[in-house]
């Protein structure tokens, strides 16, 4: 899967309260959440973002609350991928679980600036800054997580497993690295 889009660049510790403020958590409809995505950090983002655009940020992206509304708002806004130096752990799980591609790539974050065009190849793990021409490699996902991604998220992954086995228990051999 190859993604091309404009970069929206932000700093460290972009928290879930600015990704989707709690005043909008009285709904879980993705399209409604998307309208307020990053509103308190960058009020123009939600109106100007185009399908396929990429968010690039610093350390600890998505820190704070467990609200899955945060990656849903980003996905609903049309963002195709989030690249950061690092992610907060609950946000990381949530993004994988709902099928929002996220990549840890400090070198790309260093190089990319707001407004650059970027190309991401999720299969080969390659990030190309189309504005500067520089190319970066991304660490592949652990195999266990790749299985969830390939199923299309945790719900389809679990559905398949529940169907396959009478018992919901996942065999330990399968999940151990």
């Amino acid at each position: 899967m190859r993604i091309t889009g404009r970069v929206w660049k932000y700093g460290d510790h972009v928290d879930t309260d600015v990704i989707i403020p709690a005043r909008y958590l009285n709904t879980s409809v993705m399209e409604e959440l998307a309208r307020h995505c990053l509103e308190d950090l960058d009020p123009k983002f939600a109106t100007l973002v185009q399908p396929g655009d990429v968010i690039v940020a610093g350390e600890n992206f998505g820190c704070g609350s467990s609200r899955e509304h945060a990656p849903l708002a980003i996905k609903g806004a049309g963002v195709s991928c989030v690249i950061a130096r690092s992610f907060a752990r609950i946000f990381y799980r949530n993004a994988i679980n709902i099928g929002l591609p996220i990549l840890e790539c400090p070198a790309a974050v260093q190089d990319v600036e707001d407004g650059h065009q970027i190309e991401v190849d999720l299969e080969s793990g390659q990030v190309r800054n189309l504005t500067t021409g520089r190319v970066f490699r991304v660490e592949p996902y652990p195999p266990f997580m790749m299985a969830i991604i390939e199923s299309g998220g945790l719900v389809p992954y679990t559905r398949q497993r529940l169907k396959a086995a009478r018992k919901p228990n996942v065999s330990q051999d399968e999940v151990r690295q």
Binding site: D17, N26, E68, T158
Partner: protein, 420 residues
């Protein structure tokens, strides 16, 4: 090679002899939690799984506490979704208005979490239960949907960071100051993906309320969990309360910690975290002339009876400053009742504070104390991100109940001893 408390609990719940940091495991969970904000999304995903029933109606807990009592029509609709689900699934532990408390105060109080448990909750402050020697961690709604259906979750075994506190606490210094100081030292991602195990003589002398406060804010350092060893204080708290038999795990003497941090706290002052990160901490005497518009005392961090006692000690016979709105929120109906019977609520109301039914409300800018542009609050809650408590141009200063109550009286942030 020895193992940490975290590794031993996770190994047992994964049915393995031992586990190592970085290993992916599939673990059985003892309790699955969600609330009025995260449950509707979890229920939507649960319904896509093709499963009729939750794995165990006694182990799936839903607490309506964030926007409850319902603040508006959309919130009422969300509450309706979870109420219908709870009834259809015959959930034993569904808590609605009147019996509802702030989830992380309510569950321990009701004895629903016991030492050695693995608890997952669609709320980041689920890590609070680490105070009881349980491995408890926050997750999103989809993870919780799968856990509700199967009673299992996948996890990466975290590295463990041990933080040891030495010395003697000064007056007016408590668990909140210890954890704020710690986050100030290691940063908001200082424990990212790790489990923290707290220890040393200072926490051994700390009452349960202070331990809950510290474990609660482990997530503010990015941690997956924050655990305390089980001791006489824990066992005394559990007496007559624990809803299930439990097993007490202890870390091995030769356990491998990724990092050990030793903190001397004898000279530690009450701490204040400035906007907009919990790591922006300063000793309160270095806070110069910060006037406040609102003070909130409560939340899953400091909504315990002990916290209200500290606030009452400061507010007794004094008046909340005329330019300050002081809102005090007991963490559960039992805390409310105990505070009432002890005369604490009388102290608060006579001082000019408002006392609310339990709710998370103001902590996340939901209701019951939302800030306007330019307004400033001192709050015993856990987060001071931009816009956390209302308008994006408002400010939240985090502190313990003593500093919060004293600041309510003075109208600016002060050390409680300034009132004496």
């Amino acid at each position: 090679m020895g193992h940490t408390l975290t590794e031993k609990i996770l190994a047992d719940h994964a049915g393995l002899e031992e586990v190592h940091p970085g290993q992916f495991v599939d673990v059985a969970v003892d309790l699955v939690l969600s609330n009025d904000i995260t449950a509707p999304l979890a229920i939507r995903e649960f319904e896509k799984l093709g499963v009729e029933r939750v794995f165990d109606p006694a182990r799936v807990v839903i607490v309506a506490d964030h926007f409850v009592p319902n603040k508006d029509i959309p919130s009422a609709q969300q509450s309706l979704v979870i109420r219908q689900f709870a009834h259809a699934q015959k959930l034993v532990h569904y808590y609605d208005v009147g019996r509802m408390g702030i989830e992380h105060v309510l569950l321990p109080e009701q004895g629903l979490v016991v030492p050695g448990d693995v608890v997952v909750g669609a709320d980041s402050h689920t890590c609070t239960y680490g105070a009881l020697g349980a491995f408890a961690t926050g997750m999103g709604s989809t993870d919780i949907a799968v856990a509700m259906a199967t009673g299992r979750v996948w996890m990466r075994v975290p590295e463990t960071m041990r933080i040891v506190y030495h010395g003697q606490l000064q007056p007016w210094v408590g668990g909140k100051d210890l954890i704020l100081h710690t986050i100030g030292q290691i940063g908001v991602d200082g424990a990212r993906y790790k489990a923290i195990e707290f220890g040393g003589p200072v926490v051994a002398a700390l009452p349960m309320a202070g331990r809950f406060t510290m474990a609660n804010m482990a997530i503010e350092a990015g941690a997956k969990a924050g655990l305390f060893p089980v001791d006489q204080t824990t066992l005394a708290y559990l007496g007559g309360r624990a809803a299930r038999p439990y097993r007490v795990y202890e870390p091995d003497a030769d356990a491998t910690y990724q990092q050990v941090i030793e903190i001397e706290v004898s000279h530690l002052e009450p701490q204040v975290a400035f906007p907009h990160l919990p790591a922006n901490t300063r000793p309160v005497t270095q806070v110069v002339e910060v006037p406040v518009d609102q003070v909130v005392i409560g939340s899953c961090t400091n909504g315990w009876l002990e916290d209200l006692r500290v606030a009452a000690e400061v507010l007794r016979g004094r008046s909340v400053h005329r330019d300050v709105r002081c809102i005090i929120i007991p963490g559960s109906p039992q805390v409310y009742l105990d505070a009432l019977r002890e005369g604490l609520l009388e102290v608060f109301i006579e001082a000019g504070a408002a006392v609310s039914t339990p709710t998370c409300g103001p902590c996340l800018g939901g209701h019951m104390g939302v800030l306007a542009a330019g307004e400033r609050a001192v709050s015993t809650t856990n987060r001071n991100f931009r816009g956390r408590m209302g308008h994006p141009d408002s400010e939240v200063y985090l502190a313990g109940p003593a500093v919060a109550a004293a600041s309510a009286v003075a109208g600016r942030i002060i050390h409680p001893s300034e009132l004496e």
